[in-house]
């Protein structure tokens, strides 16, 4: 693969070109970051965007290391941090948002939450002192740190360092006596009550961090047979970093030790009874911040697998890692998700370069544990479909949000950097029709129910065929692909953050497993490869424009969009609102000098939309018809258990006007009546725009690269299947 990619890279993209392009982007992006950052007061927005940014970084990391050694610096450049220093600061200083931990801390905690339980001696063993200092420096300087490089122990040590350096400590040395009095109470209930009372005296940031920390520690202590760190051990290692008395220093060793013992007792009690003290929801803290965990899990896999395994920005992989989040909710789901993710990776490794194969070793050790739950895939295919569809629908918002918040700058960059190797892959897999067929068959066989199977196959088809079709046709855009890839992961994160919580998490899991199955049948490769290559192209060329465009478009369509009444939809709406607000804010703030392109786009939005539609009709057909009408309907039928989702679906259905009947019609409707297909339209539009612009610049190239016959075959296959 490496060879191939190197051969192809020059064609698709000149490295130096890319660099300059990146540079330009980064400048713009930085500006944007500043502009948008303050606006993300909307609940979850900030979180989401941050996490998505992170995720991109994770994905691209292998590439950075391989291709571009200057990657990390650029990254740091791109992300101006609002907080200059992290250590030795009062918590209230580092937590600028009331309910948000500093992002690095949140990230570290999430990694620890995910990996800690399986790391022996977590929080006990030392890490490299030099690396620790470097990491601390990095964190303090506000740069964005590549946590995926760091070992768990290093992160644990740095985190403890962070705790230790909080002035007055996390539990406040002023409250030392209160804590001690509370912990000396006899009787579980009295103790709990007393501790609750003391905890209520903590400032909000402290309480927030304490809850997160206890969540992690409690989670780790539950796996003490693996990591050997039960609550007592953890308390020993953590106690002194969490609380010391004011008059600590002058005391003799013996007295200090006595104090430490008491603190240890307190912390142990806190860890063991955190649910009693702070409520059951404390254990779910990290399931709320799905995005982050996603990133983390991905990091894990990425870091473990290293390079090429992670070449493709593959949506399924991300999905699977997403699943780790819900895993907090239920162990089974965790196992399943892990399973799926594991499966993806080894497979891809095999398929791809031999260079990677050595790296698989890392994985394999973990595999055993994770394969404990063998097949959730086929049985749940229907659900998976639903998920997928949802992902598609959500994707627009996600993408948009990400972009709007200005955090995406990095993501885009990442994509740019990471893609070059992919075109080669794509080429190697050129018999697209073959792959598609395979996917079809696999889908059919996997789906136990006709409905579900058909829908699933459709979905996969659309994704696969979309790639091929659009890539081959001059009008169709590589951006389509990009959208797909981008969208899916993002949508997942959105779902979870939206708080539909468990249900969606489950759904996600299924989707992941589903994707895993498809991948097994060799479809994956092509998909991801083609995706990547196209992504890169489109991103590179259009990233700036496209960003603006998409944002605008969504805004325009927004009015049409938010008819639904259900909670889910409502949430969506708020999302959109926020997006709009962001833009308005930006406009207000920068009335004199919006980017010229942006302005132009804004002005033209109304005029453009129809034209997109008309242009798109043919190309759009596959996308719209498959994901939207077919799968959706089947999903609707199948999905009885998940109420939330059902509501969501029904809403969508109502909006769409019975997609089943109008299956053929829907295809064409999109262009004419954007409203009819509301969930997809923005995306489509964006695609169109991107494709259009892309076409101008890259048409020849595309033609050269993608064979028309293949495209035709795919389309035929699709249609015949329908």
């Amino acid at each position: 693969m490496k060879v191939l990619s190197s051969c192809n890279a020059p064609k698709t993209l000149d490295v130096s070109d890319m660099e300059t392009l990146i540079g330009c982007q980064s400048e713009v992006d930085i500006k944007k970051c500043h502009l948008f950052m303050p606006c993300d007061t909307e609940d979850g927005l900030c979180h989401l965007s941050e996490s998505s940014k992170k995720r991109k970084k994770v994905i691209s990391w292998p590439f950075l290391t391989r291709r571009n050694t200057s990657g990390p610096e650029i990254l740091g450049q791109l992300e101006p941090d609002l907080k200059p220093s992290l250590f030795d600061q009062p918590l209230s200083m580092v937590c600028n948002k009331e309910d948000m931990l500093p992002k690095p801390i949140q990230d570290i905690l999430t990694i620890l939450f995910l990996q800690g339980p399986y790391t022996e001696g977590i929080f006990r063993k030392a890490a490299n002192e030099k690396l620790r200092k470097e990491l601390k420096e990095e964190l303090n300087s506000g740069g964005n740190v590549a946590f995926e490089k760091a070992s768990v122990h290093l992160l644990a040590v740095v985190f403890k360092d962070f705790l230790r350096n909080i002035p007055h400590k996390l539990l406040l040395s002023e409250l030392y006596d209160d804590w001690m009095t509370a912990v000396e109470k006899t009787g579980h209930h009295e103790k709990t009550e007393a501790i609750k009372e003391v905890a209520s005296k903590l400032p909000r940031p402290n309480l927030l961090l304490l809850k997160h920390l206890l969540c992690v520690l409690h989670h780790i202590s539950k796996s003490s047979e693996v990591n050997k760190m039960d609550s007592s051990n953890l308390a020993i290692c953590f106690g002194p970093t969490m609380l010391t008395s004011d008059y600590d220093q002058g005391l003799p060793l013996a007295a200090q030790k006595e104090q430490t013992d008491k603190v240890k007792t307190l912390v142990e009690f806190l860890i063991n009874n955190c649910c009693d003290i702070f409520g059951e929801e404390i254990c779910l803290l990290f399931s709320n911040s799905v995005d982050d965990s996603l990133d983390k899990s991905e990091m894990l896999s990425a870091s473990q697998l290293h390079d090429s395994a992670y070449d493709s920005t593959d949506p399924e992989g991300e999905c699977s890692s997403n699943d780790l989040q819900p895993s907090n909710l239920s162990k089974t789901s965790m196992a399943a998700s892990r399973l799926s993710s594991r499966e993806l990776y080894p497979q891809r490794l095999l398929e791809q370069t031999s260079s990677v194969s050595s790296l698989t070793r890392f994985k394999l050790s973990n595999l055993d544990r994770r394969f404990s739950e063998p097949d959730m895939f086929s049985s749940k295919s229907s659900r998976e479909n639903c998920v997928r569809d949802q992902m598609l629908t959500n994707s627009e918002e996600n993408v948009i949000q990400q972009k709007e918040l200005g955090l995406k700058c990095q993501n885009l960059r990442m994509y740019v950097m990471e893609e070059p190797p992919l075109p080669g892959l794509y080429r190697t897999k050129k018999p697209l029709n073959l792959t598609i067929k395979a996917s079809l068959q696999s889908e059919l066989s996997s789906g136990s129910l006709p409905r579900s199977s058909s829908s699933s196959s459709l979905d996969s088809l659309t994704s696969v065929s979309d790639n091929s079709v659009f890539s081959s046709s001059p009008l169709a855009s590589p951006s389509l692909f990009k959208n797909n890839t981008l969208i899916q992961p993002q949508s997942l994160s959105t779902n979870i953050s939206e708080g539909s919580g468990t249900h969606i998490g489950e759904l996600k899991k299924h989707s992941v497993s589903f994707s895993a199955t498809t991948r097994k049948k060799l479809v994956t490769k092509t998909q991801s490869c083609s995706l990547g290559s196209f992504q890169r192209d489109s991103f590179k060329k259009e990233s700036k424009k496209e960003r603006h465009l998409s944002c605008r478009i969504v805004q325009a369509t927004y009015g049409d969009k938010c008819k639904p009444v259900t909670p889910l939809e409502h949430q969506h709406r708020s999302r959109f609102m926020s997006a709009e607000e962001v833009f308005q804010l930006v406009d207000r703030r920068n009335p004199g000098k919006p980017p010229s392109y942006e302005e132009a786009t804004k002005n033209c939005t109304a005029a453009r939309l129809p034209s997109y539609g008309s242009l798109a009709v043919q190309d759009m057909r596959p996308t719209t018809s498959f994901p939207d009408s077919g799968p959706q309907h089947s999903r609707f039928d199948k999905e009885v258990t998940n109420k939330v989702y059902k509501d969501f679906l029904s809403n969508r259905l109502s909006v769409i006007n019975n997609p089943k009947d109008s299956l053929p019609a829907v295809d064409f409707v999109i262009g004419i009546h954007p409203r009819a297909n509301i969930p997809l339209t923005p995306q489509v539009y964006r695609l169109r725009t991107m494709s259009g612009s892309y076409q101008k610049s890259k048409q020849e190239y595309l033609m050269r690269r993608c064979s028309q016959p293949a495209f035709d075959c795919i389309q035929c296959a699709k249609e015949s299947y329908v």
């Binding site: 001696g121 929080f123 006990r124 063993k125 030392a126 890490a127 490299n128 002192e129 030099k130 403890k160 230790r164 050997k228 760190m229 007592s232 051990n233 020993i236 290692c237 953590f238 106690g239 002194p240 970093t241 600590d248 220093q249 060793l253 013996a254 200090q256 030790k257 430490t260 013992d261 240890k264």
Partner: protein
């Protein structure tokens, strides 16, 4: 440095999980438990002979899991001799000792007259990351003595402390109280490199 009373304080440093407590417990109680309990800080006392009389050997088993500069400084300033333990299965644990040694140097001013033992523990383990020669080299660089031990197999544990005491030139100390345990003396033959005196 105040030479106070009869106590002779030995402080055991090392990264988390290298076996400091195991070493100390093996020496003090003669037992070994395969547990995994981090230490906060424990102090053990034992009577030894010193300058033709007896004194208390006070062994402070420190924590390796979290660095508390304040506590560490206190331990160092009060300690007479130091045992720096690493695990031969972890190069990292050897690296961890550098800052500690630096701090000793800083607080004590000079390490010339201070007995310091570099100890590679878990030498019974087959999966070595640090060879004995490397430990020896580091010890030479640090101008201290080196020994490999195994608390689990009770290898070189007593010798370790005997050697440490023998390094103290300002006092004449021995683990043996007037030949009571003369038989133990023979074990010092196991010591690599330096020979203990009496």
């Amino acid at each position: 440095m105040p030479e106070q009373s009869n106590d002779y304080r030995v402080v055991v440093f090392g990264a988390g999980g290298v076996g400091k407590s195991s070493l100390v417990l093996r020496f003090v109680k003669g037992t070994f438990r395969d547990t995994y309990i981090p230490t906060i800080e424990d102090t053990y006392r034992q009577v030894i002979s010193c300058d033709k009389s007896v004194c208390t050997l006070q062994i402070t088993d420190t924590t390796g899991s979290h660095q508390f500069p304040a506590m560490q400084r206190l331990s160092i300033s009060k300690g007479h001799a130091f045992v720096l333990v690493f695990s031969v299965t972890s190069r990292q644990s050897l690296e961890e000792l550098r800052p500690i040694r630096q701090q000793i140097l800083q607080i004590k001013g000079s390490v010339e007259s201070i007995p310091i033992m570099l100890v590679g523990n878990k030498c019974d383990e087959t999966q070595r990351e640090v060879q004995a020669a490397e430990g020896q080299a580091v010890a030479q660089e640090w101008k201290c003595a080196f020994m490999e031990t195994s608390a689990k197999m009770n290898y070189n544990v007593k010798e370790l402390f005997q050697e440490l005491l023998s390094l103290e030139k300002r006092r004449n100390m021995s683990l043996n109280i007037d030949g009571k345990r003369s038989s133990k003396q023979k074990r010092t033959d196991k010591i690599k490199g330096k020979c203990s005196l009496m």
